[in-house]
């Protein structure tokens, strides 16, 4: 089993990165750090997808000298799919940061628990 894991160590690194991002998401109460954790998770899934497109000993899928032999090039599809993932990740991060800015302007803190308490307090006052 260890040999298998060592052979596909890029996938293992992606998995561990994903878990590190998830831990960041769980352990930090600062909203900004939670967003950083989500970004790490995004990066991990992009790494996993890209690594699936790699084939040992072949080059990137850019035709060289007009040779269209499949045996020479890697898989172009994961690269195209990862592009979608990166764009979605950037967009989601931007929207999350904007929402965080709005929360900060209302409650003057980035701590999620404090925000929760203050929101509950506000609800009680109504």
């Amino acid at each position: 089993m260890l040999q298998t894991l060592w052979d596909s160590r890029v996938n293992c690194i992606a998995v561990i990165l994903f878990a590190v991002g998830f831990a960041t998401l769980l352990l930090h109460r600062n909203l900004f750090k939670k967003i950083l954790g989500l970004n790490i998770m995004d990066t991990a899934s992009c790494l996993l997808l890209t690594s699936l497109g790699y084939i040992e000993g072949r080059t990137a899928p850019i035709i060289v000298d007009g040779v269209t032999d499949v045996q020479r090039y890697g898989n172009p599809l994961p690269a195209g799919l990862v592009l979608t993932g990166i764009v979605v990740s950037v967009s989601v991060t931007a929207v999350m940061l904007a929402l965080t800015v709005r929360l900060y302007e209302r409650y003057h803190t980035l701590d999620l628990d404090e925000i929760y308490m203050l929101a509950r307090q506000e609800e009680g006052e109504k």
Binding site: P76, V87, V90, A94
Partner: protein, 300 residues
């Protein structure tokens, strides 16, 4: 690392020490009580009250359980990785006849030397149109959230940067044109080699952001304000949509166009891929700069 330090790190009470938060508090729309120090009783009192109950014990055990959960997750995912095809194996199920077809016929059918560009901007051009719209929608959402703030501009900070950093200014004077020219090269080279609209647009956006950091927003405001931004992005997206809408009428078959693929390897080849790359690059560059501008000063 000592145990107490580890605790402190886990609990991460340093939300107020961020430069980011300080920068934001300058333009907060809500007046802060007593100058807004972060340990004001108004803010911390409810938490201290609730700390005494069950929440305290929960908070103590929570990091432990979170770490254990993540370790279990790593274990399960590693078990899954073991069953995945080995990294770099040529007989993985992902490398099937679809990939074969794209590599063998891609250049002939789309005229793009870069097979990935051929896939994302010709075979799956609708997918990329959706991506551009996702980016545009995100930018719109950010604008809705942040544009309505009153008194967005921060002229003091901008002026301070301009006066205090001649090194940044002279470096930017050399680097910014190179960065933007390189971004244009990446966009125009999208069908001939590594590159394309998204990466080139991101490079140009980075150049614009560097320019705004070094010289302030005023020079850029003359050429890229909200009105111009809206027009440019709208034109680019409309061009993309119109250029690809014909596939509605030919049964989602993009391939037979009036634009010939041309001679593969030339700059004006590959049919619509180059104009589409330019449109995508414009959207990405403007959105990147727009994000920076709106987060920095609340308007574009």
């Amino acid at each position: 690392m000592k145990k107490s330090e580890f605790r402190k790190w886990l609990k991460s009470w340093d939300a107020g020490e961020f430069d980011f938060t300080e920068a934001l508090s300058d333009r907060a729309s809500l007046p802060q009580p007593d100058g807004g120090s972060k340990d004001h009783p108004w803010k911390l009192e409810p938490i201290n009250r609730l700390e005494q109950g069950e929440i305290k014990s929960f908070r103590k055990s929570y990091p432990f359980f979170a770490v254990v959960l993540c370790c279990i997750m790593i274990g399960f995912l590693l078990l899954t990785v073991e069953h995945l095809p080995t990294f770099g194996a040529p007989d993985a199920p992902a490398h099937n006849e679809v990939m074969e077809r794209y590599v063998e016929k891609g250049m002939e059918e789309t005229g793009a030397v870069n097979v990935v560009a051929g896939v994302i901007l010709d075979y799956r051009a609708f997918d990329t149109l959706g991506e551009s719209h996702v980016l545009y929608t995100a930018a719109t959402a950010v604008f809705i959230l942040l544009l309505s703030l009153k008194g967005g501009g921060e002229p003091e900070r901008e002026r301070k940067i301009m006066q205090s950093d001649p090194l940044l200014k002279s470096t930017a004077r050399i680097i910014v044109p190179l960065v933007i020219v390189y971004g244009i090269y990446v966009i125009f080279n999208g069908h001939l080699g590594p590159g394309g609209g998204f990466s080139g647009g991101a490079v140009i956006g980075g150049g614009l952001i560097l320019y705004a950091i070094a010289f302030g927003f005023e020079p850029l405001d003359k050429i890229l304000n909200l009105k111009v931004y809206r027009m440019i992005v709208l034109c680019a997206l409309c061009f993309y949509s119109l250029a690809k809408c014909y596939s509605f009428f030919c049964g989602a078959n993009h391939l037979e166009t009036i634009f010939s693929p041309g001679k593969a390897g030339m700059i004006f080849s590959a049919g619509l891929i180059l104009p589409l790359n330019i449109a995508v690059g414009i959207v990405v560059a403007c959105t990147m700069y727009g994000f920076y501008s709106i987060f920095q000063r609340g308007r574009i």
